[in-house]
């Protein structure tokens, strides 16, 4: 009941949507009734349109994000662990971190065309630096006393890196990945809206151009919900991964 009370505003919002559209306060062209959107959603699930495009989109986001996590995490820890790496790459990270990654959409398309490759590359490039910065800050902040005691107990440099530095870099790195996850969705949808042959963003653009707005709203809400659900699932995963800290 308390959850219902908590989320009541969202239900009110949905009811308000249905009402203003049904009562003709706004044109159904601008805002199709929610019930109609839900019906359109059901039809697209049945026809498989939503599923195939959704799978294409999620594959791109997942692959790009996985690459970004591995490369970005390794880069951040390397920068914190070896001073020369930091001296060489630190300024580049600092320059490219604030760059709006959406600017890379045309370039990745120039390099790899309109298919999966350009989207994966875009998401990889766009999501890498938040992970790098998180891992770098986390690894740099690892407790010196822990490192010294591990060394004095005879742990080799690589053992220290793996057993002491990596775990202490984890919390901040996971935060960086959360930022990257949000970025991945933004880059995915916008790049698919601009250049793609399939995917949810492309479907939105196609339906919008066609004027089938109830279906378009259905896909928009689907993507919004996927972004929200991915973030919630990731937070749950993060809590489990960090359970040892308590």
């Amino acid at each position: 009941v308390s959850a219902l009370f908590r989320y009541l505003p969202l239900l009110l919002l949905a009811a308000g949507w249905e009402l203003v559209s049904r009562l003709g306060l706004v044109s159904t062209l601008a805002l199709p009734p929610l019930s109609q959107v839900v019906l359109a959603w059901g039809e697209m699930v049945k026809s498989g349109e939503l599923v195939t495009n959704g799978a294409a989109s999620l594959w791109r986001a997942g692959a790009g994000l996985a690459l970004a996590t591995v490369a970005g995490g390794a880069l951040g820890i390397a920068m914190a662990w070896w001073r020369p790496v930091n001296a060489a790459l630190g300024p580049l990270v600092e320059i490219f971190y604030p760059m709006p990654k959406s600017a890379l959409i045309p370039v990745t398309a120039v390099w790899l065309g309109f298919g999966d490759g350009s989207k994966v590359l875009l998401i990889f490039l766009g999501c890498m630096l938040p992970v790098t910065i998180g891992a770098f800050n986390g690894a740099r902040g690892s407790d010196q006393a822990l490192i010294w005691s591990a060394r004095s107990m005879g742990a080799g440099r690589l053992t220290v890196l793996w057993d002491v530095v990596m775990p202490s870099a984890l919390p901040e790195m996971l935060n960086g990945i959360r930022t990257a996850l949000a970025l991945a969705f933004i880059l995915l949808v916008s790049s698919e809206l601009i250049v793609a042959r399939e995917g949810l963003g492309n479907l939105i653009g196609y339906l919008g151009n066609n004027g089938t707005y109830d279906a378009m709203f259905a896909v928009v809400l689907t993507v919004a919900f996927l972004g929200f659900a991915a973030d919630r699932a990731y937070q749950a995963l993060m809590r489990r991964l960090l359970a040892w800290r308590e």
Binding site: Y7, L10, P91, M99, A103, V107, V220
Partner: protein, 280 residues
């Protein structure tokens, strides 16, 4: 303000003097510039080697020439101006509205009840998805573009404001109340300054978002602006224009983020964090 702080600070024995510090700063700036120069050289060399076509990677020198001609034409200034106008207007609206909403949510249970689920569900959503909807309602002009910027940039400000107010030392509020501060005084003189470090952090998150979204909506909706110019060049297979756009957008982003970090130091010079070594 900075000068006042500089003159009142006691010179610490053993600390490098101003000239030495300036020298060291320029030395580290040079050390920082070296990797960037190397990257530029590598770009030029890779483009000249012939392993990539000029379409895939035009020479850096050609791109710089292109930026120069754009600058002489006035196109560059116009596009930067338009993009910054959209990003900063949206950012300013998001900042003011976000702080007000965050304050209202912290102070009033009904407002909190109404907006809490909307903020917690809306924050992680990719708001850019709503672009076709906003286009449908508001067309493709400045109002639609700025609306998209506000929609994306407001969430970090709201959550940071709430977190900042929640983190205020209760004693501060109690003592102010005890000394007879009115509600308005409490808000302006106690709560807002005390929450400012957190709010600034939220703004520092929101500003790059505002720029990202401004560039994105220009790419998607057309018109003027850095993003639109870049997509235009790309449609005509003018890859020099595309790479020139990347360099321009990167420079604008870098300058904005740096300016925000400096603004933070100025605004929070009274706060203890100003004494800590700067990280940006």
């Amino acid at each position: 303000m900075a000068r006042v702080a500089g003159t009142t600070a006691e010179p610490i024995p053993g600390e490098p003097g101003r000239a030495q510090r300036a020298l060291r700063a320029s030395g580290s700036a040079m050390a920082g510039a070296a990797p960037i120069l190397l990257l530029g050289l590598a770009w030029e060399a890779l483009a000249m080697s012939g392993s990539l076509t000029p379409y895939q990677l035009p020479r850096l020198s050609a791109v710089l020439v292109r930026i120069w001609t754009d600058a002489v034409d006035g196109d560059l200034l116009l596009n930067i101006g338009v993009t910054l106008y959209r990003a900063l207007t949206g950012f300013a609206i998001a900042a003011v509205a976000g702080v007000i909403l965050g304050m209202a949510m912290s102070r009033n249970a009904a407002v909190r009840w109404l907006f809490d689920p909307i903020v917690s569900v809306g924050f992680p959503m990719p708001k850019i998805t709503f672009l076709p909807v906003v286009m449908l309602w508001l067309n493709v002009h400045d109002v639609a573009k700025i609306t998209m910027v506000v929609l994306d940039a407001i969430f970090p400000v709201v959550t940071a404001t709430i977190a900042g107010i929640a983190g205020i030392d209760r004693h501060l509020i109690w003592s102010a109340r005890n000394m007879g501060a009115s509600n308005r005084e409490l808000l302006w003189q106690i709560m807002l300054p005390a929450a400012l470090p957190q709010i600034m952090t939220g703004l520092q998150v929101a500003l790059p978002i505002a720029l990202i979204v401004a560039v994105l909506v220009e790419m998607l909706m057309g018109g003027y602006g850095l993003g639109a110019a870049m997509v235009h060049a790309w449609r005509f297979a003018d890859s020099r224009g595309v790479f020139a756009g990347i360099v321009e957008i990167a420079v604008v982003g870098y300058v904005l983020v740096k300016a925000m970090a400096i603004a933070r130091r100025r605004l929070l010079i009274w706060h203890q964090e100003a004494l800590a070594p700067s990280t940006v």
